[in-house]
Symmetry: C2
Subunit: 310 residues, 2 copies
């Protein structure tokens, strides 16, 4: 079997949604030398035009139904809230025995929304590539987005063979894969991603609101810590609205823990309990050490940011 | 006047405290070709030994009193809570007419703690270089830490000449300077730095606490947003305890606003008000745009992080 005929190679792949995640999939497939024929569809004519101009996909078509025709692998790469309606629309047009996958950041509600529409014999293999930037749209993707990042696979009754092929596909794109149970997935993501995003959005909103501190000052002095919040809080509003609307339970649970802890620290500040703060701040250092040891970040000053010259 | 005899050049400079901030001052002075004689003191013999080994300062002495003898510029670079006692100790040994400065992250309480001890005729010029990393100690400093960063000057009755010299000094180290009124300083810093740090510490604490999500998973999947919080939350516990103990009022005020906003978003999640979330997330994008336009960050994927190979 030549490299381009491995299990990760599907004859025809359909990308539904042509934003950051889908366009990065296409560029990474190209880099990997896969010879699949890739069809793409996005909701707006504007995005479809941009995709054509960028050379994204081998063919851009005007409906999701048309895109999935004859496809061996269909990847739903639209906001989480749009997955159900799309699945319903494409279901009658799916090739028997094909594999349907999605890349949504939330898994339980997506599975519940997609699964009932899929015909018997179609394999559904939900995934979640843990990679992204704050940019979105067809022009945002790049081939190395998934390199060394985790792509979580949340099995939902697909055949072992179908699941293994999707895993091989993501590995060919550069990712490391791991299977995770659906509810655990949504909880882990609430902790490492969803609640941190909500908090960052909130902090940026507070700064923006504060009339006594001008936006100008917030921007000028942002390197003191705030800047990293603004990066996170620049992510796509539609995507994040959908994440919070669909991962409600885990988000609210982690938020509850967060405010409980925050109130304890706030109380220590008010009462002058320096020891409590010191102990808390000492404990949190350990996690950072673990992340550096695991090679998940750089220790370079200023995050190894490319130097910004004025 | 040759470059090394400009107003930024002091004949003798004393650095009290030899951590990230002081060591970076020394290396930046060296890079700028200043010919001041620099004396250093730190509390522990261990830090003093390390400083000697690293070639930090021209002379390391065993007491703050000795360090400030004959100094034209004395810079207090110890945690905020240690400023008052140090000022009291050195006061009788200060050269008449010299300039005392500090680099504390909080200004109101530091000024109140230091000012009463200083003799008539000594100029006190409080400063706050808005630059740092999560590392601390004598080995953490580097010459370019202040390049293009802001150093805020909070005038407290020093002569115009003394203030201008301190500004020139910081500019020679690479910083941009700006004067700011003391209460406004503490509020701005609460917004752009102190509360973001507290929130990051809290989020990392929550993740660490959560038994159902292992530390291992938190570390593995940290790149999804959480990682940037751990970076902030790895900062020195003593420094940050002191910041919150001394900038209590502004911190509690901003924290109050933060929880108020967070509850509004939490409520929107609970009640399914997607429009509120969408509008909120759209608004916060603007601030990010301002930061990029102001050259305060890079737009590169993954913050322009140096690629971490496994
Ligand atoms: N960005 C991340 O960090 C990240 C990471 C992991 C997973 N994900 C998940 O990946 C998925 C896509 O995210 P993305 O970052 O690629 O988003 P994106 O860049 O905003 O692109 C979204 C794409 O979906 C299309 N779309 C939106 N609503 C649609 C609808 N109702 N019907 C049909 N098409 C629709 C958009 O078309 P138009 O351009 O025509 O509107 C666009 O092509 C989301 O489920 C997200 O949760 C994102
Ligand atoms: N790091 C930042 O991001 C940052 C940014 C702007 C301003 N600042 C401010 O700069 C100051 C110094 O911070 P840093 O980051 O340089 O801290 P650091 O790296 O932890 O160094 C602190 C230095 O102060 C000495 N010290 C501590 N307690 C002392 C005491 N009671 N008496 C005498 N010396 C004492 C320490 O000596 P030993 O090593 O012997 O304990 C050490 O040399 C703080 O006021 C901080 O608020 C920090």
């Amino acid at each position: 079997m030549s490299e381009t005929q491995g299990p990760e190679n599907y004859g025809k792949v359909a990308l539904i949604g042509l934003g950051l995640i889908a366009s990065s999939i296409f560029w990474a497939m190209k880099r990997a030398g896969m010879d699949s024929h890739v069809t793409g569809y996005a909701r707006s004519a504007e995005t479809r035009e941009t995709a054509k101009r960028l050379g994204l996909c081998h063919e851009i078509v005007d409906s999701a139904e048309e895109a999935v025709k004859d496809a061996d692998l269909v990847i739903l790469a639209v906001p989480v809230g749009a997955m159900g309606p799309i699945a319903e629309a494409i279901a009658p047009h799916l090739k028997p025995g094909c594999t349907v996958s999605d890349v949504g950041s939330v898994k339980k509600e997506v599975i519940e929304a997609v699964r009932p529409h899929l015909p018997e014999g179609v394999n559904f293999v939900p995934t979640h590539p843990m990679a992204g930037t704050e940019h979105s749209g067809p022009g945002a993707g790049f081939a190395s987005l998934y390199d060394n990042r985790w792509c979580l696979i949340v099995p939902d009754g697909a055949s072992e063979e179908a699941t293994a092929r999707v895993e091989a596909f993501w590995q060919a794109l550069g990712a490391k894969t791991e299977q995770m149970e659906v509810e655990h997935h949504d909880l882990v993501c609430a902790v490492v991603s969803h609640v941190p995003h909500l908090i960052a959005y909130t902090m940026v909103g507070v700064a923006d609101d504060l009339r006594r501190v001008s936006d100008q000052e917030v921007i000028k002095f942002s390197a003191a810590g705030f800047r990293d919040f603004t990066r996170i809080a620049a992510s796509d509003p539609t995507m994040w609205r959908d994440v919070f609307m669909t991962n409600k339970q885990a988000t609210l649970e982690i938020l509850g823990r967060f405010t409980e802890e925050l109130f304890a620290l706030q109380r220590a500040i008010r009462t002058g309990d320096g020891q409590l703060l010191f102990d808390y701040f000492t404990r949190t250092r350990e996690i950072r050490r673990g992340i550096l040891q695991a090679g998940q970040d750089t220790d370079a000053p200023d995050f190894g940011r490319v130097k910004v010259e004025k």
